[in-house]
């Protein structure tokens, strides 16, 4: 159980995240939606502690995450894998090494400096890649891959961390519709298959509704909606997105039934 208690983060005068409280049960697929600048990324990054909160607490199974330091903090980061919009792979390293970086936390310093990965770790990384049909790319430089392939590598890196939680910050925002579906399906598979909780920032309401079992709507740093997708009426969407709501909602219904639509971006 992930519990967030009146979490806040300010940048100067601006409150990027303002008094947010949430609790996320294990195994859920939670979508975080809201217009640009609503504070979605900041919220996710604070959970991984890539960004320090300026107030409030994060608890995981009763343990205070916001107080962690040193090795304990790194262990927590390994427990909540992060997936980024820009993939954040090391372009000059090969795909397998990029995936194996997910094992760094569990590898001794001397071994990792010499890149002496254990056979089990290698097997794990290759299996993860093969599961997403990119096992044959293991020896290629990450930067030579397409965006969709790179994001799958990033998902594999997240998987080999054996995380309890996956935080995905707009994982499909730089992908085309076909790769969007591949990546979102991969996240869903991880969620269903391994029971890993997924928290996913999304710009597209259509996608959010077809993949998530719970939606958290943010506006100006606050949570303004928190319920199952079916409850997201046009009225709520208008509150979330302001004038753009019409555009965002348009074609929403058959998008859900078709499973996928090119993401209308609420920028």
């Amino acid at each position: 159980m992930l519990v967030i208690e009146s979490l806040s983060r300010r940048f100067g005068e601006k409150k990027a995240v303002n008094d947010v409280s949430l609790s996320v049960a294990p195994g859920g697929f939670v979508g975080v939606i809201g217009r640009s600048g609503a504070g979605k990324s900041t919220l996710l990054r604070m959970i991984n502690r890539l960004q320090e909160p300026s107030g409030g607490r994060i608890l995981y199974e009763g343990r205070d995450i916001t107080a962690l330091r040193g090795q304990a903090l790194r262990d927590w980061r390994a427990d909540c894998a992060m997936i980024f919009q820009q993939f954040n792979l090391v372009g000059r390293l090969d795909v397998l090494t990029n995936v194996l970086m997910g094992r760094l936390n569990k590898t001794s310093a001397a071994q990792s400096l010499l890149r002496l990965w254990s056979p089990e770790d290698r097997a794990m990384a290759l299996s993860a890649l093969e599961q997403f049909d990119i096992g044959n790319l293991a020896a290629q430089r990450a930067e030579s891959l397409s965006g969709g392939q790179q994001q799958r590598v990033a998902i594999c890196r997240a998987l080999v961390q054996e995380p309890k939680l996956i935080l995905a910050d707009e994982p499909i925002a730089s992908l085309d519709p076909r790769n969007t579906k591949i990546v979102m399906d991969a996240l869903r598979r991880i969620n269903r298959h391994f029971g890993i909780t997924v928290l996913c920032n999304l710009h597209s309401l259509d996608l959010a509704r077809s993949y998530c079992d719970r939606l958290v709507g943010m506006a100006a740093g606050r949570v303004v909606f928190d319920d199952v997708p079916e409850k997201l009426t046009e009225h709520v969407a208008r509150e979330l997105y302001g004038l753009e709501a019409g555009e965002v909602m348009e074609s929403g219904d058959h998008a859900v039934s078709a499973g996928l639509k090119p993401a209308p971006v609420a920028a």
Partner: protein
């Protein structure tokens, strides 16, 4: 076509004819006027700059007691020295060109070659140690990687210090401390290289793409691990390139280390200069120049290969 009227649109219009339409005079005149004013202002600035420069030269010559007339009168002896470098001043061929007896000119070839070898070795070891130190410290000095401003400040100031003190000064100090020989030369070059390369490395590190670093941090990698995996692959080719460049600079630096007794060819060169062995001076100088050129060509070749590899990736 209505060339003159909506001038702005016509200028870049799609169906433009072959001659470029001009603006009406009324619109053109102020633009031309503004351009002329701006040009005139620039010219005035340039003229002012040269006047100031000339004045500064005259004033500084006065202050430093440089007599320009004396310089002119004695310029002859400067060239005289150079012509004497290539003429034997004793023996059978006294007063004749050195080219007539290369063997006699390069009588000390084996010894000088060995000393040049020492010089290269001093430069090599000095560069290696300095680069190693620079590599180890540059990450702690980089703004984007080192969170602690104190650590950063100390690293930067240390590099500044070692970069500012000329290597020959370090050599003098170490000769006093360790005695004559190549060790002080190596130490002096290492320290200066440490400062100079450290600064360059640090700037390379500050310009990396931070996203891979964030990716590594987010999956629980330690600071050292994230540098090993997310930073080093990005900076390594630049580091090697800067180090090769520094090696070439250090070969030149090492050849004067002997001036203060810190090993290498410089010892024989300064002796030849002091004792007016003109032909020895020219013989040694030419060997140093040839060596530097060879090193320059070789390192440039390797560096271009590296850059080529970078671009071909």
């Amino acid at each position: 076509m209505t060339a003159r009227h909506p001038a702005g649109r016509q200028l870049f219009g799609y169906g433009m004819s072959s001659s470029l339409p001009t603006l009406p005079d009324a619109q053109l005149a102020p633009l031309l006027e503004a351009y002329k004013c701006a040009r005139a202002a620039k010219l005035r600035q340039t003229a002012l700059f040269f006047v100031a420069l000339t004045l500064a030269v005259i004033v500084s010559a006065k202050v430093a007691e440089i007599d320009l007339f004396k310089l002119g009168a004695n310029i002859g002896s400067f060239f005289n020295y150079f012509s004497r470098l290539f003429v034997f001043d004793s023996g059978d061929l006294q007063g004749r060109s050195v080219l007539l007896d290369i063997g006699e000119w390069y009588w000390g070839f084996r010894k000088w070659l060995r000393l040049l070898g020492d010089t290269l070795l001093i430069a090599y070891v000095g560069t290696f140690i300095g680069a190693l130190g620079a590599f180890l410290i540059c990450f702690s000095g980089a703004r984007n990687l080192s969170p602690n401003p104190w650590v950063r400040g100390v690293a930067k100031r240390a590099l500044e210090f070692f970069r500012t003190v000329p290597e020959i000064v370090f050599a003098l100090i170490f000769v006093i401390a360790f005695g004559l020989g190549p060790i002080p030369g190596v130490l002096a070059l290492s320290l200066h290289t440490f400062g100079a390369l450290g600064k360059q490395f640090l700037e390379v590190v500050e310009n990396i793409d931070m996203r891979p670093v964030e990716g590594a941090t987010a999956c629980g990698a330690s600071w050292v691990d994230s540098i090993r995996f997310a930073v080093v692959p990005q900076v390594l080719s630049n580091f090697v390139s800067y180090t090769l460049l520094r090696f070439e600079i250090n070969v030149r630096g090492a050849s004067v280390m002997g001036f203060v007794g810190a090993g290498g060819i410089g010892q024989d060169l300064i002796e030849a200069i002091r004792k007016f062995y003109y032909t020895d001076v020219s013989a040694i100088l030419l060997m140093i120049i040839a060596t530097v050129m060879i090193v320059d060509i070789a390192t440039a070749h390797v560096r271009h290969r590296l850059i080529g590899l970078e671009e071909a990736r």
